[in-house]
């Protein structure tokens, strides 16, 4: 009963399989011209089943549940929290991201404890809420708060959970292995569906009762013991708790291999073996590095950031961390953002002449390559500085400036071709072209091939605004 018959993996499901279960009326309510188009989007994970409104009607109930079953992910989706800020964890279909886009980016939770005073709590929550980084036009943020019972005192925990709940509407994780402490906390956040962390071999029955009573998801903590993890999973499922998360233990230093391999084995059991007892989201707790006894704070933070990033690569669906310093968090949130993007998305953007603001015949012309990330970075810098300019995007086969100069994709000749192809001379009166600083060595040759004067811009596009304010319009050669 523990291994379901292996169902079709998401890659084997064709739009036809899905189409058969749709109403096939081509009503267009979903915004697509016909049911086949919707089926294609659905198979690609670009729309949700529920976007087909007619399918939700009573008479289509059977088709709906069949479709739900057909498209069910290998790892269950569990929701934590309630209202606008709820997070979905898990919902994974595959082990490798080239097989199918990963869904539900790993939420990162930061801890607070019941031994913090009001001021400490307030400051820390403000920091968690306030962390923000603008990355190619997106705002990267932290997601959850994990409240730890350090005192092991129900009253203290109750009070802290109450305060935290008032200070933030982020989803919460309540952390204690003591059921009376847990219940004291749960009472304060009945309607917020926090994650209960955690059921162990000693407290599972009481924690299961709490999960049922308060309708909360429940984490299982079985450090380094996958047999126990499966046993507890089965036991809790039989008990009636359906929304489980699994924590096989996050070991650091000499235990690192166990951590990475346990996570990998569990995910493979879920995706390839159809093991229903392990088909739940995984919790990584890089915060455990703080138990190491290491004295240097920076070394612990360094290790925590690396452990977190490794677990983002290797299958953690939720992370609990302690350090909130920008240099520690930044690589984690960027890597998380990156690895959850659609791998089919092209690495390159369309080459051509892009227009920003309202440039006229005297506006500057900048140049970059058509590598998507280079382009988006430049674009975001130009936009945030509100510049009026042209940006000549040269086709380098989707390679960045530095590599394309080295690999001869960006050369004086390709620059001249682009200037000609996109009719630059018709757009501006002047004859100045601004090259990226990393392509500086092409400037001499490019003056010969294009017949334009070359200005060497900054090495990083963050310096464009400053560069233009100092160097534009150019002083020499003005009419």
């Amino acid at each position: 009963m523990t291994e379901r018959e292996l169902k079709k993996s998401i890659k084997e499901i064709s739009p036809i399989d899905v189409y058969k279960l749709l109403p096939r009326t081509n009503c267009g309510e979903c915004g697509f011209p016909n049911c086949m188009a919707f089926a294609t989007k659905l198979v690609n994970g670009e729309v949700a089943i529920e976007d087909c409104k007619p399918l939700l009607k009573e008479e289509n109930k059977q088709a709906y549940s069949k479709l739900k079953e057909l498209l069910a992910p290998a790892v269950k989706t569990v929701t934590i929290g309630a209202g606008e800020r709820l997070v979905k964890v898990g919902g994974k279909y595959v082990m490798y991201r080239h097989e199918f886009t990963y869904h539900n980016p790993t939420p990162i939770a930061v801890d607070v404890t019941d031994e913090m005073d009001d001021k400490e709590l307030e400051e820390r929550i403000k920091k968690i809420e306030g962390f923000s980084y603008n990355y190619i036009g997106r705002t990267l943020k932290l997601d959850m708060v994990a409240v730890r019972s350090v005192s092991n005192d129900p009253d203290a925990f109750k009070l802290t959970v109450e305060k935290v709940a008032k200070m933030t509407d982020m989803p919460l994780i309540l952390c204690s292995f003591n059921p009376s402490v847990m219940e004291a906390g749960l009472v304060q956040v009945k309607d917020r569906r926090p994650l209960i962390y955690a059921a162990t071999k000693d407290n599972w029955k009481e924690m299961a009762e709490l999960a049922l009573m308060y309708n909360c998801p429940l984490a299982i903590f079985a450090p380094g013991d996958l047999k126990l993890l499966r046993s507890l999973s089965r036991t809790l499922l039989e008990y009636g708790v359906e929304d489980l998360l699994l924590d096989p233990g996050t070991f650091y230093d000499e235990g690192l291999s166990d951590t990475i391999n346990n996570f990998t084995m569990i995910r493979r059991c879920a995706c390839k073996k159809g093991d229903e007892l392990l088909s739940f989201p995984l919790i990584g707790t890089p915060i455990t590095v703080w138990t190491s006894g290491e004295i240097s704070k920076e070394i612990i933070q360094w290790k925590e950031a690396i452990l977190a990033s490794m677990l983002i690569s290797r299958y953690a669906d939720l992370l609990i961390v302690h350090s909130i310093d920008g240099w520690v968090i930044l690589p984690q949130v960027i890597w998380r953002f990156n690895i959850y993007t659609d791998p089919r998305k092209p690495v390159s953007v369309e080459p051509g002449l892009k227009v920003f603001g309202k440039p006229d015949e005297n506006s500057p012309v900048l140049l970059t390559t058509n590598y998507a990330l280079t382009y988006f970075t430049v674009e975001s810098d130009i936009k945030s500085a509100n510049l009026d300019c042209y940006l000549l995007v040269v086709d380098t086969g989707g390679i960045s400036v530095e590599s394309s100069v080295a690999g001869r994709y960006l050369t004086a000749d390709t620059i001249a071709d682009a200037v000609k192809e996109y009719k630059l001379e018709e757009k501006v009166k002047h004859r100045y072209l601004i090259l990226p600083g990393l392509a500086a060595r092409l400037s001499g040759e490019a003056e010969d091939t294009t017949g334009w004067r070359i200005l060497v811009g900054p090495k990083d596009s963050s310096g464009i605004a400053k560069f233009l304010s100092e160097k534009w319009p150019p002083k020499e050669g003005e009419e």
Partner: protein, 414 residues
Amino acid sequence: MSGEKEKENKKDDIILKLGPRLLEFLANLQQVELEDFEMEVEELEIRIAPTAIAAPPKGTAPPVAVPAKVKPTRILEEDFVPPIEEYPGKVREVVLGATKSEGGSRGKTFTIGGADTPSFYIFEKPPVHPPVVSIDTFDIKVPLPKAIRMHVQEVMEDPAEWAKMAVNKFGADIVTIHLLSTDPLIKDASPSEAAKTVEEVLQAVDVPIIVGSCGDPRKDAKVFEKVAEVAHGERVMLSSLTLEMAEAGTLAGPAKAAKEHGHVVLAFTAMELNNAKELNRRLYEYLPPESIVMDLTTAALGYGLEYSFTIHERARLAALAGDPELQHPVLSGSTNAWAAREAWMKLGPEFEPRELRGPLWETITAISLLLAGVDIFMMMHPAAVKTMKEIVNNLMNMGKAKPEKIADWVTVKI
């Protein structure tokens, strides 16, 4: 599926379908009536716990569409079997460096590759050869981020001293000397001048070395041919041979020279496995496959690392599945991490100190690709190199975790 199991499943189906109806009955009537429904009693066990009958569920949770179960009173024991798979293919082994008895003068050599599982699937098998680290050095003074420059300032104009520092102070397994001076647009140093630098480095250290070029397909060919000759027998790796050289008609020269003088080549392509395969096919005309390492391109964290990550995962899986054209060890130029502005730029006081953010950026770029299957890394920051070696060491063997060390993390005072 056996007939017995099928029957078992059908039974479960019936129970599932009956579930909601039964619960409804119970809630209203406190007794069960089955209308228009015939079955043999032994075919169906109605799994309803007595407690559920006495007290039907109420309150917040909506009625559940599964049958109530008897709540277990003890842990229901299950087993765990590691999910082992078999792979028809494996990655080739490539030897870097040659000792005196092998025709060179290196004190030690490294074998890379040989992987026969996905990266660090220790539960299947530990890696045949642990990944190794090369440190980048340059033959001219190059602009470096401050966080790196501060460590190498005093040797930046002396490749031999720089190589010694990389090995003795920073623990490099291998040293890469980038001959940037040969770039026609920089100094246009002659192949002989460049080769002299290589000789100096070979004398300064006894580890295997990698020789990097400037990226000009014509000039590189000449430089590599000369380097191959003066480093005869040392089994250096020429970094790198490209499809652009094939296009320019300059691939044969250095490839043949590598074979003649017993060296290894790095085949560089820009994040496209079909191109990687094509370049390898071209190289097979001149070289044994055991002399080819691939560079599939390393983009910095935040600037395309996910593309590098995925292409390395795909390459390893294809190699294991038996694609001979991808069964080569892979190299990552992780120093590229410093191209990310987040590695060096001022981002405000909340993101300081940059002295830590920068090397962390390089470390995470490299470690992410370690998990994707990279065999050899080109790196620069001493802290990143040190961390990489520690992590490789910690990943090599399972079974060293101490559960008691983390069992109480929830209550730890930080």
